[in-house]
Symmetry: C2
Subunit: 251 residues, 2 copies
């Protein structure tokens, strides 16, 4: 049994506003067994406070220090370098960047801006990057599922800017090994002693494997038949977090 | 001296609504020397009729049968296959697709939609492609220059959809060898006997070279210092079409 379990949020615990069947109990059992749980997400449509509130509202008992968000990682990255970011982000999380001087930007941060991905906003990001501003990306996720529909995720727009400006983004969230390391450190676990659970075979599973963390793909959320064949490497595949909890706790 | 010269429009003849210095006379001299001229463009913000009118308005004598547009190539591609395209295109050219049944689409065509690149429109294109609809792209241009500013071009958005849906687009315009071949055939010239002139080192120059056509990069339009080092292969680099005309006609 691993020492720590890192859980993706959307698609593993819930899909939109609906809890994945049995997920609340499964998380409760994992916690009760003494495993260190950490929640690790590239989601960027809600502030940290709203994410915690959303999780609590759905019945998940998640403490502040157990939650690792790519948006937090982005703020730390920008802060450490004293940058003035142009933030192409969802209006809902704009307040998370109030600490930064955003006039005359010298960096670009792209998260899941949703309707904020307008031609004008993307052009502004592109022009700054073409002029040399570093491009910071929340994640490289291709798409996500919400309310039974698929939506293009930030990764696709980051790729568009990378291609147009001929630059390479720095990804702060999953699959960045640095991001996984934050959660591992806080749990006091080594990579090999942990376990990453996600519905994104690239950012969650392939990313974790590249960071030396055993991984598990759930067949919930954005999972589509055949996803397990889209990456190489050995990992577990389960119907949902319920099956995983059963297997881990009985194994 | 080549038998035919293929000229890109934007960035070679004009930038936005401004003629490149001396370009009208340079084109006139090339024509007067007996060279077959063809005009070959991925531009997709104007209808064919408007493009011709724009060229005439700027002083360029271009006949209908000398103009090859990627939008025309896209229509031919869709027509040959009897497809019902979802057209993510500029409102201005929507009428060019009136011949197609666009209800219940089974294909996606992406051109330079400008403000039409909304999150909702991109999601619709992405979902269709993820469900198996072929993705047709006008070109793979990264950006273009207009009125002294750079704008993201269709290629960047096509890449975003390709990445999100994990599909490969069919590019109908430059750098497709089939597209160059249309212009060559009409001019009765072989690839080796022609000459492609453009300001896009990828779509124009690299594309032409890959199709066996000698090529020339102009330092006008979207050209930025160092562009000539971004691709491999041998090609000419000139300050503008004026210098090229001088060299071809004296050489």
């Amino acid at each position: 049994m691993p020492g720590a379990v890192l859980l993706d949020l959307s698609g593993v615990l819930y899909d939109g506003d609906v809890v994945i069947d049995g997920a609340v109990d499964a998380v409760g059992c994992l916690r009760a067994s003494g495993l260190e749980l950490r929640f690790i997400t590239n989601t960027s449509r809600r502030t940290r406070a709203e994410l915690i509130e959303h999780l609590h509202g759905l019945g998940f008992d998640v403490a502040q220090q157990q939650l690792f968000t790519a948006v937090d990682a982005a703020r730390a990255w920008l802060r450490q370098r004293g940058l003035r970011p142009y933030c192409l982000v969802h209006d809902n999380i704009r307040s998370e960047f109030d600490e930064f001087d955003q006039r005359d930007p010298d960096a670009v941060f792209v998260a899941d801006a949703a309707q904020g991905f307008t031609y004008d906003a993307l052009n502004r990001a592109f022009r700054l990057c073409q002029a040399g501003a570093p491009l910071l990306g929340v994640g490289d996720n291709r798409y996500f599922s919400a309310g039974g529909e698929m939506f293009m995720d930030a990764g696709a727009f980051i790729h568009a800017i990378e291609f147009a400006a001929d630059v390479q983004a720095v990804i702060v969230g999953k699959p960045s090994a640095d991001f996984f390391a934050l959660a591992l450190d806080s749990a006091g676990a080594s990579a090999a002693d942990a376990f990453m659970v996600g519905d994104d075979v690239f950012a969650d599973v392939q990313g974790a494997l590249a960071a030396g963390i055993p991984a598990c793909l759930v067949r919930t959320g954005k999972y589509r038949a055949g996803d397990e064949n889209r990456v190489t490497g050995e990992f577990r595949v389960v119907d949902s977090i319920v099956q995983l909890a059963d297997e881990l706790l009985s194994g």
